[in-house]
Symmetry: C2
Subunit: 101 residues, 2 copies
C-alpha cells in the first residue's frame, strides 16, 4: 500500500537522503570531495561564491580534508533555512519583520 | 526567466514556506492553534501519537498557549531529521551505524 507523505515529510526526507546519497558507500561521514560534489550539485550558488566550498567548510568550523558528519551538514542546512526565513519575512508585512528582532 | 532549483533547495524552501504559510497573517510566530493545524496536516503521525500536539509542545520546551517561533519549529525539524537519519543509517551497512556513535 502506497503511503502518501506530506510536503514537510518529503522535504525532510530529501534533506536526509541527499546527505546519505552523497557518500558512495553509505558511510556516516562524507569526505571533503563527496561534500564538494554534493554542494556543487545541490547548492550551486554557494559552490560558486567567493572562496567556494573551502570557505564554506571553514564557516562550518571544518578544515579542508576533514570528514563531514550529518551534524556538520545540518549546521549548514540550519543556517540556510534561517537565512531564507529572514528573506521571506522581509518580503512580507512590516509586522512580520519587526517581530523577528 | 524561470530558475531551476535543486532538490535540496526546494526542500529547504518547503520547510520555511510551511512555517510561514501556517500563520494567517504572516506573523513571525504561530499561535498554538496554528501550530496544531500545521502539525495535523504536515506531521499527522505526530499529531495522532500519545499526548498529541500538547506533548509535542512540551518536548519542544513550550507550554500550551505559548506562541511558536521559527527557532522552536526548527528544533522539531532537527529532531525529526536526526531521527530519520538514524533510521536510514540502520537500514544500511553496519559500517554506517557504528560510525554514528
Amino acid at each position: 500500500m502506497a503511503e502518501k507523505y506530506s510536503e514537510l515529510e518529503l522535504a525532510l526526507n530529501t534533506l536526509v537522503t541527499e546527505f546519505h546519497g552523497a557518500s558512495e558507500n553509505n558511510t556516516a561521514t562524507l569526505t571533503s570531495d563527496q561534500f564538494e560534489n554534493m554542494v556543487t550539485k545541490q547548492l550551486p550558488t554557494m559552490a560558486k561564491a567567493d572562496g567556494g566550498v573551502g570557505q564554506l567548510l571553514q564557516k562550518m568550523g571544518l578544515e579542508v580534508g576533514q570528514s563531514i558528519s550529518f551534524e556538520n551538514f545540518w549546521t549548514l542546512v540550519q543556517g540556510l533555512a534561517t537565512q531564507l526565513y529572514g528573506l521571506k519575512s522581509n518580503e512580507k508585512t512590516a509586522k512580520c519583520s519587526c517581530l523577528l528582532q
